[in-house]
């Protein structure tokens, strides 16, 4: 135990005084600071200009939409309806020829044009059609509504009555008895991504740390000074605490910066939802983060011990990285799909190498019975200890093997023999 403490302290001090570790942490905190203070800064810098344009929306630079409608009363009704529906445009009636209109769009004077022939047909002109261009959908809706009103008026109703019928609103309220996926989506996504990044980054760091000790031959002295189990647990737990410290620094500063700028972010529900995570979910996050981190870091450490040179690390850790990426993809796909309780996710939430992400996602996005969570955590805890001890034994055999990277079979044989 004393040896473990000595190794743990030494390794942790190495992380916390490492210039790259400090640099990355400071950079991330600064980046989050810039993002979080951005609305406040934008308002402070752009406030004066807004004041000037407030009284004259036309001068505010709204894009121009050219509109051509049939003549007569129907046409003027269309003009009013389009002007109301396309509020973000400065809707101008087209007075020139079609060629002139096309020229105006091409030279950027106007953004787009609607040439309406009747209630059932129109042409839409635009320079570059954006993926997000929804103008035709709005125009369809406007013309459809006008057509319905026209039919009602023809049937004997007044324009006001027809308008009243069509503009009637239905109010509704949603009671989600389980989880609100829209609200939980962002922080689940961020947390899974953070878990993914931290495990990959620190796993690689543990592997190269072990490989460096081996290639610099410091291992010759280490292996005769300390027990492999102490070495492995000391290294991995120190990297876990270092990773956790970095996460707390980054997320802690994000929460702090958000609270300092809360009023400027008020309207952005997605951002607000991230900082409104329920405390029990934060608890689960902590549990799955620590256990998920440990199980992978042990594997990375064991693999690192089998590499003789630092250059071999990338190839050696590939199978573990692939396993982890597959787990990440399954979770991300299910998260995007909205169905986090599919059969694959259910299986993954009990398999130790995938459960940290899969079970956490299910807890955050769906309603998982408590006993299932308990079983998943129990399997994970037992696996962490099992993998930890196995990793220490691989380490003990691996660190003394120089030359070509040994095959898994020969390492397992050596372990069995011991």
């Amino acid at each position: 135990m004393k040896q473990f403490k000595v190794i743990f302290k030494f390794e942790l001090r190495n992380y916390l005084t490492n210039k790259i570790f400090l640099g990355v942490t400071i950079f991330l905190v600064a980046l989050i600071g810039v993002v979080m203070f951005f609305p406040r800064a934008a308002e402070a810098l752009g406030g004066g200009e807004d004041g000037e344009t407030e009284g004259s929306p036309e001068a505010g630079g709204r894009p121009v939409m050219l509109l051509s409608v049939p003549s007569g009363e129907a046409g003027s009704l269309m003009g009013e309806a389009f002007a109301a529906a396309f509020g973000r445009y400065n809707v101008r009636v087209l007075e020139d020829s079609l060629e002139e209109m096309e020229a105006q769009i091409l030279d950027g004077t106007a953004e787009c044009a609607l040439v309406v022939e009747s209630l059932n047909a129109y042409d839409y002109y635009v320079n570059n059609l954006s993926m997000y261009d929804r103008n035709t959908e709005t125009a369809d809706e406007v013309l459809k509504q006008l057509g319905q009103m026209q039919a009602m008026v023809d049937g004997g109703l007044s324009w006001e009555e027809a308008e009243g019928i069509l503009s009637s609103r239905v109010s509704h309220e949603v009671f989600s008895l389980g989880k609100d996926q829209i609200e939980n989506f962002f922080y689940t996504y961020i947390m899974i991504f953070a878990l993914y990044m931290v495990i990959l980054l620190y796993g690689q760091m543990v592997a190269s740390n072990v490989a460096t000790e081996k290639s610099s031959r410091a291992m010759e002295v280490l292996i005769t000074s300390a027990r492999p189990v102490s070495m492995m647990f000391g290294k991995v737990l120190a990297s876990c605490l270092a990773g956790f410290t970095q996460l707390v620094a980054v997320f802690g500063s994000a929460v702090l910066f958000f609270n300092l700028n809360k009023e400027y972010w008020g309207g952005t529900a997605a951002v607000a939802s991230v900082f409104d995570m329920p405390p029990e979910l934060l608890g689960y996050m902590l549990v799955f983060f620590v256990l998920g981190f440990l199980i992978y870091a042990f594997l990375y450490g064991a693999i690192g011990s089998t590499a003789s040179k630092l250059e071999d690390i990338n190839t050696s850790v590939m199978p573990i990285t692939m396993l982890f990426i597959v787990a990440f993809m399954v979770v991300m796909y299910s998260l995007a799909d909205g169905n986090v309780d599919n059969i694959l996710m259910k299986i993954c939430s009990f398999v130790p190498f995938t459960s940290p992400m899969a079970m956490f996602t299910r807890i955050a996005m769906s309603s998982v019975p408590f006993h299932e969570v308990l079983i998943s955590v129990a399997i994970l805890v037992v696996s962490v200890f099992g993998v930890g001890v196995l990793a220490a034994r691989i380490y003990k055999v691996g660190v003394l093997l120089y030359g070509t990277t040994p095959k898994l079979g020969s390492i397992l044989k050596a372990i069995r023999k011991e």
Binding site: K2, Q3, V6, I7, F10, N14, E213, S216, R217, A218, M219, E220, V221, L222, I223, T224, S225, A226, K396, L400, S410, K413, A414, E418
Partner: protein
């Protein structure tokens, strides 16, 4: 103080690396473990230090099965290396702490050893800023700082200049005088001859020769005379001798050791002799004979 390896066997896969190695070393004396590359020296040392267990055999300390919690080893491996990017003082304290020392005691011991080896000024420097010889002196501190009972030095003199070699010799002599068990493994036979009272030669995983060095030498047949003279050619043809490696030397093989006096007389009476001595093999000769 006495440590003993008894009939140690070890296989890696199909290959039997140690085939019943037995040897014993005592406190206040230096023991030389010799053998060619791949003979099984490092494996024996690792088993002795409990890096991995033997397949069979036993290790006794003071006549009882060794308890690794109460016996401290100091080890200078042949493959040198510590943390190249870390500060020297910091990593030396770490290694001493791993050996069970408290941090303050470790720091004090490390300072003492750095002072003793003339390396105190490098305490706050990174290891990779030092020359190879100085790095080796730093590594020596990891073997000695925790004041172990058993010190294992694998090729301790390789890479050291004569001044540093002298310093290391003094340190080793001091440790031997303090009653420590010092186990040398080296191919530099002159150092082994200088320090070691007893030796063991391992060849092919077996001890092929062991015992007190002076007895081993004395047990060689004393029927050869080495004669140094300006008349080597004539002596060689008269006594059936062979010219030896050294200039002006001839080796005469006697029919029996008892003829020694008579032959010496004939030589001194008949020729201009500078020196006559009974031939004793050097450790190098013994090594080549047994480890070949």
């Amino acid at each position: 103080m006495r440590i003993e390896l008894k009939d140690i066997r070890k296989s890696f896969g199909e290959k039997e690396v140690l085939k019943g190695v037995s040897l014993a070393a005592e406190g206040g004396r230096a023991f030389g473990l010799l053998g060619r590359n791949g003979a099984g020296k490092t494996t024996s040392i690792r088993i002795l230090m409990d890096v991995f267990p033997a397949d069979s055999g036993e290790i006794l300390f003071e006549g009882k099965a060794i308890d690794y919690r109460s016996v401290q080893f100091g080890y200078l491996p042949e493959e040198r290396g510590l943390y190249p990017k870390k500060k020297i003082g910091e990593q030396l304290i770490y290694f001493a702490e791993l050996k069970g020392m408290r941090r303050s005691a470790a720091a004090k011991a490390v300072d003492g050893w750095l002072e003793r080896l003339g390396m105190a000024e490098y305490r706050g420097k990174r290891l990779d800023t030092l020359s190879k010889g100085n790095q080796q002196k730093i590594q020596l501190v990891t073997a000695l700082a925790h004041d172990p009972q058993i010190i294992i030095l694998d090729e301790p003199f390789s890479g050291l200049d004569p001044v540093n070699a002298m310093l290391l010799k003094d340190v080793v002599r001091e440790e031997i005088a303090r009653g420590k068990i010092v186990l040398f493994s080296s191919h530099q036979m002159n150092y082994i001859e200088e320090f070691c009272d007893s030796i063991a030669i391992i060849n092919g995983g077996q001890v092929v020769l062991s015992g007190e060095l002076h007895e081993i030498k004395r047990n060689y047949p004393r029927n050869r005379l080495v004669v140094r003279s300006g008349q080597c050619g004539e002596i060689a043809s008269a006594f059936g001798g062979s010219m030896e490696g050294e200039r002006d030397c001839v080796m005469i093989t006697l029919k029996s050791p008892e003829d020694k006096g008579q032959v010496m007389r004939r030589l001194t009476e008949g020729y201009d002799i500078d020196e006559i001595k009974v031939f004793e093999p050097s450790l190098n000769d013994i090594f080549v004979e047994y480890a070949h």
